[in-house]
Symmetry: C2
Subunit: 193 residues, 2 copies
C-alpha cells in the first residue's frame, strides 16, 4: 500500500466516523420526539447513498402495537421510499441496541450495516444477550459499529426514567393525600351524624 | 388424581388437539390467499378466547416490505383489534416455522403459545437454526406445539415451488425460442440484402 493509499483510507475512516456521529445525532433527534409522547426515547434513521430514507421513534404505547418500535417504523418507511423489501446498501443508526424482533427485521431486510448508540444488557440482541446480526447460519450478515454517541444515547434514557420515577412518586403521594383527606372527611361526617 | 380428573384432562387434551387442527386449517386458508398473488404460501391466524383476532398471509413481494410476513400482519391486526401491544392469552397458528424477525415479534408481543405446521430447517428460529421463543434470558417465553397439519403445510409449499419451477422453465424456453426466431429472421434478411 502506498502513502497515498494510506492517507486515502485514513480519510475514509475519519469521514465514516464523522458521518456516523452526524446520523446518530439525527437518530437522537428522533428519540427526543418519543419523549413528547411519554414513550421510552429510542430513535432510528436509515441512510442510503448519503440520504435519510427512513426515520422512526418508539411509539409502542401510543400506537398500541409492538411493531411501533423505532427500527421497524424506519424499515417500513425505507422500504416504501426505495420500493423494495431488500434494503441492501443501507446503514441503520439506532440509539439503543436492537431487541430480538428488530435485529431479526434488520437481517430479513438485508441492511448492510448497523450503527448502535447505547447497549441494552438486559434485552439487546446485537451483542448483549445474543447476536442475531451476524450469525453464519443466516443468509445475511450485518456489519456492526458500536458506541457511537453512546453517552448521549444513555443520557437521554436515564433522564427519561429519572423523570418518570419522579412523576410516579408525585402521583402516588397526591393519591395518598387525597385518600387521607377523603378518610378524614368521612370521619368528620360520622361524628356530625 | 381421580378417574374423573383423568377423563377431564384427557378430554381437554383431545379438545385442544381438535382446536389446533381447526385453526391451523384457517391458517392454511390464509396461505392459499398468498398463492393468488404469486407469493410463497405462508398463512397465520391469532386466536384469543376462541375467536380469531388477527389473520395474515405473506405479501412480501407485493407490498415490497419485509414486514409483510404473515405473522407480522396477524400481530398488527390482533393488536389493533385488542387495543393492546400485549397479546397475552393469545395463540398463534402459523403454517411454517417463524423466521428470526417473526419469532422476535412473537416474544415482544407476549403471545402465550405458537402452533407450527411445517418446520423450516434452513431459516426457522423456533427450533431449527435456533429457538428464540423460549430462551430463559428473555422476559417472556412461549409454549410451542409442533407438527400440526405438517403434511398439508409442506404440501402447499411444495406445490407452489414445483409450479414456480415449471413456469420459470416454460418462460426460459419461450425466451430462447423467441431469440432463435429473431436470429433466423436477421440471417434471412442478411441473405436477401
Amino acid at each position: 500500500m502506498t502513502a497515498k493509499n494510506n492517507s486515502a483510507s485514513k480519510k475514509t475512516i475519519e469521514d465514516r466516523a464523522k458521518e456516523d456521529i452526524k446520523y446518530m445525532k439525527k437518530a437522537l433527534a428522533q428519540a427526543k420526539c418519543a419523549i413528547k409522547l411519554g414513550e421510552v426515547p429510542i430513535g432510528c434513521v436509515i441512510v442510503c447513498d448519503g440520504k435519510i430514507v427512513g426515520r422512526g421513534f418508539n411509539k409502542r404505547n401510543t400506537r398500541k402495537t409492538t411493531l411501533a418500535h423505532a427500527e421497524i417504523t424506519a424499515i417500513d418507511k425505507a422500504s416504501r421510499k426505495l420500493g423494495d423489501w431488500r434494503l441492501e446498501g443501507c446503514t441503520m443508526y439506532v440509539t439503543l441496541e436492537p431487541c430480538q424482533m428488530c435485529s431479526g427485521a434488520i437481517v430479513q431486510s438485508r441492511i448492510d450495516r448497523v450503527v448502535i448508540g447505547a447497549m441494552n444488557p438486559k434485552a439487546g440482541c446485537a451483542g448483549s444477550i445474543l447476536n442475531l446480526l451476524n450469525r453464519p447460519e443466516f443468509n445475511h450478515q450485518v456489519e456492526i459499529t458500536y458506541d457511537v454517541c453512546a453517552e448521549l444515547s444513555c443520557e437521554i434514557l436515564q433522564l427519561f426514567f429519572t423523570d418518570l420515577r419522579k412523576r410516579n412518586k408525585a402521583e402516588k403521594e397526591a393519591r395518598k393525600k387525597a385518600e387521607q383527606a377523603a378518610a378524614e372527611a368521612a370521619g368528620e361526617s360520622e361524628v356530625q351524624s
